[in-house]
């Protein structure tokens, strides 16, 4: 995972990520075209596929709308790094397979425009612009299972096909 970083502050809420005025659709392309619109109206013009979002505390707070991580994923953002995530956003990201990482130091020290590289197996973020390396905690085993299946629905299908394993 490699890309350029776009920085945001604390408490970025789902109304900023994807305003409710666009929630009368589930079309991912349309949602992607309004990604982060009320936090930065030019975001979709600037960001390129593979780029990352780096934010402060409580990223994705507010409503439960899965449209928020969907819009981010569909806009081609490769991952979100934050000091902390709001819990429903966190669940949704895991469930749809949008990579997210909680890492205070990285969120603090990475600057806008820095090129980063994420090493999933070793739990490490490398800021190629500054040369700094940051460690992050891997997810608990159960969540990794969901991510490895490519999201919750695949996980559920797999489990349902093995009747001895209730979900």
């Amino acid at each position: 995972m490699k890309g350029k970083c776009w920085k945001f502050g604390d408490n970025v809420n789902t109304d900023e990520i994807i305003p409710a005025r666009y929630l009368n659709t589930t079309d991912t392309k349309e949602l992607a075209s309004h990604c982060m619109e009320d936090a930065d109206p030019n975001f979709t013009k600037k960001a390129e596929a593979g780029d990352a979002i780096v934010a402060g505390d409580n990223f994705g707070c507010g409503s439960s709308r899965e449209h928020a991580p969907i819009a981010i994923k569909a806009a081609g953002i490769s991952c979100v790094i934050a000091k902390s995530f709001a819990r429903i956003f966190f669940r949704n990201a895991i469930n749809i397979g949008l990579p997210i990482f909680e890492c205070s130091e990285a969120a603090k020290q990475i600057r806008e425009g820095d090129e980063i590289e994420v090493d999933l197996t070793n739990g490490e973020i490398l800021d190629r612009t500054s040369g700094k390396r940051f460690k992050f905690e891997p997810f608990p085993r159960e969540m990794q299972e969901i991510i490895q299946c490519g999201g919750l629905m695949n996980f559920v299908k797999k489990k349902m096909n093995q009747p001895e394993n209730k979900l």
């Binding site: 408490n11 809420n13 900023e16 439960s64 709308r65 819990r87 429903i88 159960e142 629905m153």
Partner: protein, 422 residues
């Protein structure tokens, strides 16, 4: 060591005798809920996965309440997907408009949720049902789709924080003010991932409508859930509504909390949260005089009958200030009808307020009262984020029904006692 009420409910639904904080469990749900924004994605996911049957047609609730009555063609398509799914799977709890209300006011009213239940909803304010002594939490659409299939949800057992409110609430202070005050103290991520347990004599004496408002806004402190031990008030409320067996769990005296906050309810004035976060709270006296363009009284936080009664008490025989608009939205059909029977609607219309059919409407900037650039609303809803009620350059101030009604009369933010005095 004992367990909290939250741990007990989660253990009982996970087939375990004991659970501890941080533990990862798969829990059986009693009810799962979706609305016209979140359920269409869940339905798509469910169908894409090729699963034939839902786990239980009596335990899925679909409420088209956000953009309904459908505001445009796209919203109509979304509502239609709920209707078609409900018919196909013979869902017992699908609420067509005319029977529909705002979900978190509707489910308790209809007796669909009960003490001791474990409930998930693809809507962040699902935490409202904690007011009945249930564990209920907001999830996303994919969680809901998985739950349609299996009746289960993955959960991490949350830590609990205890909030004790001593004394009695003051005149004009409501449940909404207590929760705004609390969020002001701990911040919008003050209870991140945690359960907020509300106790103390002030809570024991609070009517159910106020308790719903408190638990409703637990999410605004980042919490997974809010909960109040069920008691006599709870039982009185569910009598005649809940037809199934239920369990009134209580926290053990020796259970543990990560933190305990103690507040004196007698010192808490009606609160107002300034833009653009619910944690920016101030006592109303400190910010009175700020001019407003629109007042909204409604939502899953404050669209219940006691909220409307408070508003009517203040608006009776008065007129809305000529420079502002007032929109009042009873949260459900039953509340609407009761307000009509009690003469509240007539008071509102005489005061020159607009009364709408139940809908989320302006609360999420959907329809029925969107703000233009530079406009300012005072609202009994629960979020004042940038752009929440319309233009990104509009502003929202949050408050309880008394401050909203008083300010409707003066056209500026006003303590209720000032209006009723005159």
């Amino acid at each position: 060591m004992g367990m909290t009420i939250t741990e007990k409910i989660i253990a009982a639904h996970s087939g375990l005798r004991k659970v501890h904080r941080g533990q990862f469990v798969y829990a059986n749900v009693d009810i799962c809920l979706g609305n016209d924004i979140t359920a269409p994605i869940a339905i798509e996911e469910f169908e894409k996965a090729g699963i034939k049957n839902v786990f239980d047609p009596e335990k899925i609730v679909l409420v088209p309440d956000h953009f309904t009555p459908n505001k445009d063609i796209k919203s109509a398509q979304q509502s239609k997907s709920l209707r078609v799914f409900a018919e196909k799977h013979h869902l017992k709890h699908y609420f067509e408009i005319g029977r529909m209300g705002i979900e978190h006011a509707l489910l308790p009213e209809k007796g669909i949720v009960a003490p001791g239940d474990l409930i998930i909803g693809a809507d962040s304010h699902t935490c409202t049902y904690g007011a009945l002594g249930a564990f209920s939490t907001g999830v996303g659409s994919t969680d809901l789709a998985a739950c349609f299939a299996t009746g289960e949800v993955w959960l991490k057992v949350p830590e609990s924080i205890k909030f004790v409110f001593h004394g009695k609430v003051k005149n004009w202070t409501s449940g909404k003010d207590l929760i705004l005050y609390t969020i002001g103290k701990i911040g919008v991520d003050g209870a991140l991932y945690k359960s907020m347990e509300f106790t103390g004599s002030a809570i024991t004496n609070l009517p159910m409508d106020d308790r719903f408002a408190i638990c409703n806004m637990a999410i605004e402190a980042g919490a997974k859930s809010g909960i109040i031990s069920p008691d006599k008030n709870t039982e009185d409320y569910i009598k005649g509504r809940v037809g199934k067996k239920y369990v009134m769990y209580q926290s053990d005296p020796d259970c543990s909390y990560t933190e305990t906050y103690e507040f004196n309810a007698e010192e808490i004035s009606p609160q107002v949260a300034l833009p653009s976060l619910p944690e920016n709270t101030k006592p109303v006296e400190d910010i009175s005089g700020i001019k407003i363009d629109q007042v909204v009284i409604g939502s899953c936080t404050n669209g219940r009958i006691s909220d409307l009664r408070i508003a009517a008490r203040i608006l009776k025989g008065k007129k809305v200030h000529p420079s502002i608009r007032v929109i009042i939205i009873p949260a459900t059909q039953d509340i609407y009808k009761q307000a009509l029977q009690e003469g509240l609607i007539e008071i509102f219309i005489d005061a020159e307020a607009v009364v709408s059919t139940p809908t989320c409407g302006p609360c999420l900037g959907g329809h029925m009262g969107i703000l233009a650039e530079g406009e300012r609303a005072l609202s009994t809803t629960n979020r004042n984020f940038v752009g929440r009620m319309g233009h990104p350059k509009s502003e929202i101030y949050l408050c309880g029904p008394a401050v909203a009604a008083a300010s409707a009369v003066t056209g500026k933010i006003t303590p209720p006692a000032e209006v009723l005095k005159n």
